[in-house]
């Protein structure tokens, strides 16, 4: 009659101690000098996911992306043969920002200053009175930026990448490709600016320690015995990338009312679409430096956290969906999932900003991460290793 009580043991500190246990210097989260080092060492030298191929539906489709941390604006366009290319959104004549639109579809791009006109391959097609210049048209194309499409995501790299995205992901590449985002055809997005260093913003999504404090109503029910902090089943590491595998608590109370219908019908829809079964389907996976994807197909979402300054960042959250909604139930369920997820997320902003205010005051020299905040430590260590390498290569 009596079901055995579920037991839960989080990964022990001993298992996680290989990453170190020392306090982390707080200055890395607010010091302008460290931020400058991150710009050079990390954001100019890493693959960065800036969008999804579903945004480039046909030849001539383009998106503009402004990446403040490297002071760049990019033009990413699908060419006549379907290939995806990325360029600096800068006219090579006098440096004018070329494309003002955020997205669109067109065959050429004309500069609004002197009407230089470029094709989808970045080549200069025409320029008025060009005979008077001292260069050839072939020398006047848009400046390309390294770009790759992997698992549906568009990655760009501002330097000269030493590895393809696949090689950079290593053993994570194969399971990552199984995620439904690889097949997504549309997305809904929300975004926010926040007065916090990008790592502090990002770290909020890498630890569950805060859940029952900050989310008593939206997340509280998930924090139940025998796992009152909703710690994950395990942590996984692939080079600079990492994930936590969520533990399913069988003790959770069954949802009621509209919540039960919303949650139930999205699970039905994801099942019909065959989206379950991915190896990372219960993982919160983080790609270095600033991208996360929450794997459960019934509520998959991604977040990219972009630095805007030492004490400021922007989060862009997207719900990627595979195909149009099949029926009214699925449309309702998607809406419910998106609204409920944003309801949880919005509760974090205030405390993250409070954390930044405290750190920026210089009142504490160090941050102490506990064992179950190991993913935050791992991000810092990965960033700091790149910063140290860049420093030593540049006489620092």
């Amino acid at each position: 009659m009596n079901e055995p009580k579920p037991v839960f043991e989080p990964q022990s500190n001993e298992e996680l101690a290989w990453l170190g246990t020392d306090p982390i210097p707080a200055s890395a989260y607010h010091d302008p000098a460290y931020y400058e080092l991150e710009r050079e060492a990390v954001f100019k030298r890493s693959w960065l996911p800036i969008g999804h191929v579903c945004e480039l539906a046909e030849p001539g489709s383009f998106i503009r992306r402004d990446i403040e941390v490297v002071k760049a604006s990019l033009l990413i366009a699908r060419g006549k043969e379907g290939e995806v290319r990325a360029f600096h959104n800068v006219c090579p004549h006098r440096g004018t920002r070329l494309v003002p639109e955020v997205s669109g579809t067109q065959a050429t791009f004309s500069c609004r200053y002197h009407a230089w006109t470029f094709g989808l391959d970045g080549g200069l097609i025409s320029a008025p009175d060009f005979e008077r210049f001292y260069v050839k048209k072939e020398q006047c194309g848009l400046k390309p930026v390294a770009v790759e499409v992997f698992a549906g995501l568009i990655f760009i790299h501002f330097g000269s990448p030493e590895q393809s995205v696949r090689d950079w992901l290593g053993d994570l590449a194969e399971p990552f490709e199984q995620l439904p985002i690889a097949k997504a055809t549309q997305f809904v997005e929300y975004s926010y600016e926040i007065g916090a260093n990008w790592k502090l913003t990002f770290d909020n999504f890498q630890e569950n320690y805060h859940l029952r404090v900050v989310h008593p109503r939206t997340g509280g029910p998930g924090c139940a015995e025998p796992n009152p902090f909703a710690y994950p089943e395990r942590y996984n590491f692939w080079g600079p990338h990492r994930s936590q595998t969520i533990w399913n608590n069988p003790n959770l109370p069954a949802p009621q009312g509209v919540q039960a219908i919303g949650n139930g019908r999205i699970v039905d829809a994801a099942g019909r679409a065959g989206l379950f079964g991915a190896e990372l389907g219960m993982d919160f996976t983080c790609l270095f430096p600033n991208f996360t994807v929450f794997g459960p197909p019934a509520r998959q979402f991604t977040q990219t956290v972009w630095p805007l300054g030492p004490n400021r960042s922007r989060g862009i959250v997207r719900f990627y969906w595979v195909g149009e909604e099949e029926n009214a139930s699925e449309r309702f369920a998607r809406e419910y999932v998106m609204a409920s997820q944003r309801d949880i997320h919005c509760e974090d902003r205030d405390v993250i900003e409070a954390g930044q205010a405290g750190l920026a005051s210089g009142a504490i020299d160090h941050i102490n991460f506990q064992g179950q905040e190991v993913l935050c430590r791992h991000l810092f260590e990965a960033v700091d290793a790149m910063v140290a390498a860049w420093r030593s290569n540049n006489g620092g």
Binding site: E189, Y192, I194, R217, V258, N327, F332, M338
Partner: protein
Amino acid sequence: MHNWWRVGATVTADETSLPDGFEALERFVATWAIADLAERDAMRGSSTPDQRKAFYSVASGLLEPALDYLDGKPLTALSDPEQRLMNLMLSLAHVALAQEVQHEDEAHHAHFRSFLPFTPKA
């Protein structure tokens, strides 16, 4: 300006009609039958507790019948009354979070949400 009692005089029965069996929701059409996700979310934030309570108390019991009814048709083939019913139920997704999860914290929570608005459709 979505309040039905203010604009009711200019809304004709034709513009508020719903499929048979869902007449009880017609008085909510002017306020809650909203076509865009970002606007539905905004309406949750700007509505009064009484508006949410009144809508939820009638609509939540009709959610399953409404979805079962609408599931019988492709989404691209909904008539105007059916589309209004769909939009009402989509607004219910938002209002239910206030009524079932946030309760008396809803006003405070609306402040949190205001910093993370959904991106309107292009």
